[in-house]
């Protein structure tokens, strides 16, 4: 591993400055038509987030509907094998099977507060689409999900799930017909319906205020984990905090709870979608960050066994934390991920999402090569469960 920088820097800004800037990243690179809509969301979120009633309502829904707090499970047998003390923050136990629901419910409640009547979402593998359809059903808000035609073919189960939840799934036929085109189409769709529709974005990315807002809605992961670690660990905080990074929401939410502790923060990208490790600054889908692109500025396709990490960009806060050295970003390849998925299943009885297995794979590697010293405590956010990936895993075995 190249670099793992220690400790907190007081310089880390917790809230974006100016027009949603995390350092030189972030911003609001959207068509003028959408600028007022983004500003409206920003205003509404700023108000809501300062309103104890809103936060109490969200907390309540997360408790009685999602099942929060999710536990922190010591991975006893894998820890023994690795010689480290591995703790799993169990987002796989959240309703709908991943952390995505935390963000979606926050945004859906916000949308209702704003008087919006419909929800729009983009989705790749369908996880965020299912989560949004779920929130739409719960709150009685008609939901439209934009999804690439190729992804619809590959993810029929999730398409069916969204339909069962009452959502309308609209195929996106442009470009590569995958997630990045669905993101573009969601913005386009939003333009035409901005009056009564709320765009419920699925990760800590997009135009300001989304990266900030989504992180805030996901910080419940990190805040809970911090409290849980404080209660359970002799040291109070873990030595390492690890999460997988697609758009970056579960990692951002996790890191938010530990950014002011001495914990080393590690984000794990897919080797085929490593915007931080292999990308360069660029503007995509409304924000500036690191993206995979060619020398002309055309966006590259990402490739990962984990559909949720199959995105050529990354949330701006991660690009910022990487530049700052406050968090380290690493990547693992598909083979390591498969091995880690099997290993966690056999040692802990947990079938995790392939996305989450990226974090596990890195811990296995890093414990092996000494990057994680013996007996160090590692908090790992297990962002989701693996049910959605069983077909993929079956094909590969």
């Amino acid at each position: 591993m190249d670099h793992l920088l220690p400790g907190p820097k007081t310089a880390v800004s917790r809230r974006p400055t100016g027009l949603g800037r995390f350092g030189e990243y972030g911003g609001r690179f959207v068509p003028e038509s959408l600028v007022p809509a983004c500003a409206e969301v920003e205003q509404a979120f700023t108000d809501a987030w300062a309103d104890p009633l809103f936060r109490a309502e969200l907390r309540h829904v997360l408790a009685i509907y999602v099942g929060r707090p999710t536990p922190v499970t010591p991975a006893a047998r894998l820890s023994a094998e690795l010689g480290v003390n591995l703790l799993l923050k169990r987002e796989d136990l959240a309703h709908t099977g991943s952390h995505k629901i935390n963000n979606v419910l926050g945004q859906a409640l916000l949308a209702r507060r704003m008087g919006k009547r419909r929800l729009i979402a983009e989705t790749g593998a369908g996880q965020h689409g299912v989560a949004t359809a779920t929130a739409g059903a719960l709150l009685g808000m008609p939901t439209t999900v934009l999804m690439g035609e190729r992804d619809i073919e590959r993810q029929q189960l999730n398409v069916f799930r969204m339909t069962m939840l009452g959502a309308e799934v609209i195929p996106v036929t442009s470009g590569t017909r995958t997630l990045k085109d669905a993101c573009s189409e969601a913005l386009r769709h939003w333009v035409t319906s901005v009056e009564d529709s709320y765009y419920c974005l699925g990760s800590a990315m997009g135009p300001h205020p989304y990266p900030w807002m989504v992180r805030e809605f996901q910080r419940v992961i990190g805040d809970e984990a911090r409290t849980q670690c404080a209660a359970d660990l002799a040291t109070g905080t873990p030595d390492f905090v690890v999460a997988c990074v697609g758009g970056g929401s579960n990692a951002a939410g996790t890191f938010a709870g530990f950014v002011d502790t001495p914990a080393l923060l590690v984000g794990v990208e897919a080797a085929g979608g490593a915007a931080i490790s292999a990308g360069s600054p660029g503007v995509l889908h409304g924000f500036r960050s690191k993206v995979l692109q060619d020398e002309h500025g055309q966006i590259a396709e990402a490739h990962s066994i984990a559909a949720g990490l199959d995105y050529p960009g990354v949330g701006p806060e991660h690009a910022y934390l990487a530049d700052l050295g406050r968090a380290s970003y690493v990547c693992v390849d598909d083979a390591e991920v498969l091995a880690a998925t099997h290993r966690l299943a056999r040692t802990e009885g947990i079938l995790c999402a392939l996305e989450s297995a990226h974090a596990v794979a890195w811990v296995i590697r890093a414990a092996g090569d000494g990057t994680i010293p013996p007996d160090a405590t590692v908090l790992l956010t297990l962002s989701g469960r693996g049910d959605k990936d069983m077909a993929t895993l079956m094909e590969l075995s």
Binding site: V30, P31, L34, V35, C183, G282, Q293, G297
Partner: protein
């Protein structure tokens, strides 16, 4: 005042409605010929689309023409070379996307545009709040960075956009992507009126103007029209350059004051 704006103001002041056809750079082998045909049909300036892999603002037609151009190997360099080769006798406006501008760097990008004889620049995903570095580079290279205003833009913001736009102000006729619509939205007229109160720059109406009737109606309150999808739709459907020129000529005719 740069060349583009000099030209648009002069036309407007002379009572001539502006016709700004849009052509996706590199969409066909002979797209350069279409520039000439457009001029012959009465274009006052030409928007050249620089195809981007993820054209957030564009509707299906321009997405398709962009895809086609990219598949055919279009790059900023090649498109600029063709523009320089054709050197149309009216101003050329680059219709780009932020990442295409920022990847080489705003200054390098603007320099290349200016070198090729481009006179103006539109970056639809670069709203006024994010424009500063690009605006400075454009200014340095005598390019007019034209800004868009939309029906959703609040009044105060319209003023800001109008004040900072160069060349003309691009009034987006409706809440939507580029692409032909049956008729411009009611809000178009209102938007143009607001912009006029804030600026004496020409106001060009775009998005969804597809037929002579619409052009005529727009001419009643705006200083000109931009037409893209209607042209590209015909091109993708196989129209010849001559047919495309004829279509533009119809629009040109429709823009002339009746009688």
């Amino acid at each position: 005042m740069n060349a583009l704006e000099t030209r648009t103001r002069a036309a407007r002041d002379a009572g001539r409605k502006l016709l700004l056809p849009y052509v996706t750079g590199g969409v066909t082998d002979d797209w350069g010929d279409l520039l000439r045909a457009a001029v012959d049909a009465g274009a006052d300036a030409i928007e050249i689309g620089f195809p981007f892999s993820d054209p957030t603002l564009d509707g299906p037609v321009i997405q398709q023409s962009s895809d086609q151009a990219l598949r055919r190997g279009a790059t900023t360099r090649r498109i600029l070379d063709e523009i320089a080769r054709v050197a149309p006798p009216v101003p050329v406006i680059a219709f780009s996307y932020a990442n295409l501008v920022l990847r080489p760097g705003a200054d390098a990008y603007c320099a290349a545009l200016a070198d090729a004889g481009v006179g103006g620049l539109i970056v639809p995903d670069l709203p006024v709040d994010e424009m500063a570095p690009v605006a400075a580079a454009a200014q340095a290279h005598a390019l007019d960075l034209a800004l868009l205003a939309a029906p959703s833009t609040p009044l105060r913001r319209c003023a800001d956009i109008a004040r900072r736009s160069r060349g003309f102000v691009y009034a987006v006729s409706l809440m939507g992507t580029t692409g032909a619509r049956s008729r411009p939205h009611e809000s178009a007229r209102e938007l143009v009126r607001c912009l006029r109160e804030e600026t004496d720059l020409p106001v060009v109406l775009g998005f969804g103007i597809a037929a002579p009737g619409q052009a005529a109606e727009a001419a009643g309150y705006a200083d000109g029209i931009a037409v893209g999808s209607a042209l590209m739709r015909r091109l993708l459907d196989g129209a010849t350059t001559a047919q495309l020129g004829a279509f533009l000529a119809q629009l040109r005719a429709a823009l002339e004051p009746a009688g």
